[in-house]
Symmetry: C2
Subunit: 189 residues, 2 copies
Amino acid sequence: MTRPLRADALRNKEKLLTVAATAFSEDGVDVPLETIAARAGVGVGTLYRHFPHRNALIEAAYRHEVERLCDAAPELLSSCVPAAEALREWMHAFVHYAGTKKGMADALRSVVGSDTTLLGHTRSQIVAALRVLLSAGAQDGSLRSDADPEDVMRAMGGVWNVGPGPDWEDQVRRLLALLIDGLRYGAPR
Amino acid sequence: MTRPLRADALRNKEKLLTVAATAFSEDGVDVPLETIAARAGVGVGTLYRHFPHRNALIEAAYRHEVERLCDAAPELLSSCVPAAEALREWMHAFVHYAGTKKGMADALRSVVGSDTTLLGHTRSQIVAALRVLLSAGAQDGSLRSDADPEDVMRAMGGVWNVGPGPDWEDQVRRLLALLIDGLRYGAPR
DNA sequence: GCCAATACCGGAGGCTCCTCCGTTTCACTC
DNA sequence: GAGTGAAACGGAGGAGCCTCCGGTATTGGC
């Protein structure tokens, strides 16, 4: 049986994942792993122990980003009212996620190849998070109750169509604002 | 416009491909490219000029093997009579090809990934070579005339099922001999 | 609070990668 | 067959990869 990671090991792994996501996104697939280790304040040995090769790190970093995004949904719901507000906040997080994934696209392609399992899995995770947010909104009346999370997800997919210009972040924000307004339309309050 | 390769460049490229096929087959995917360059009597610079990265070399080496095999068919027909004899010789060459491909399997997998174009293309090349041999045999009466090259190809596919034991080469030979006898059965002479 | 036992960490070192550019060879002309 | 430019060669060198193991932190038992 595999016992839980020691506290320091966990800390380092977490830090590596965060740093890696940023690095792959900003510097491309070919960023030296030694750079990532250094930025995480860790030796290469540690990096290679957790992630035996480049692809393992890329994949883990991506999974980590998705997880962070999805975990944020319930947290936001407990700190923001009404749920429509939580949704707005979550979509802000989504913008950040989209930015990272945009940058990581090349890196991701080099990993997944034929492995569509990964993409399918993360997609359904995101849909699930969305479902939580939408049903909370339906319950407190801040969002219409007839919206399908799959549909919303598809609509959010439009984000990938935004060009690489300097104002992509604004474009994405506008797109999402529009979407939220649509989800509010006809809500009880 | 891209002019034809200079004579020495062509010689080196050819040598590299031959050496690479052997090396990948015998030493695995991870054989240092410097080793291949050295065995081909060439500097690494030359290797990298012709094949900018490992995958390019692997793919080219594989294509080269297939081409060599297929080009052998018409040559054998002009030097061996009857055509059944040419077919036997060609199948000997196929055994060698199978051995190389067996060894290169790992390397190949790492290249092709989702690219099924490559495998499909080489398959049809081999079928074409087979068709030439079979129709020559039908014409000179040394082989039956109702054999479909696609079928023969499929039967030859059994070669990949031969285990990795020490006598695989003999097993393959017997399998192919059986196949040839089948193709002779009922031939005019 | 202390002490082993048990992970985990770090980075030097050996190896491979791949580029870069001075040198050599080729192909073509006169 | 000498001259010339274009193309190819080679291998040194700088950079990244990954392993290995002496040193260090953490944990669980006392």
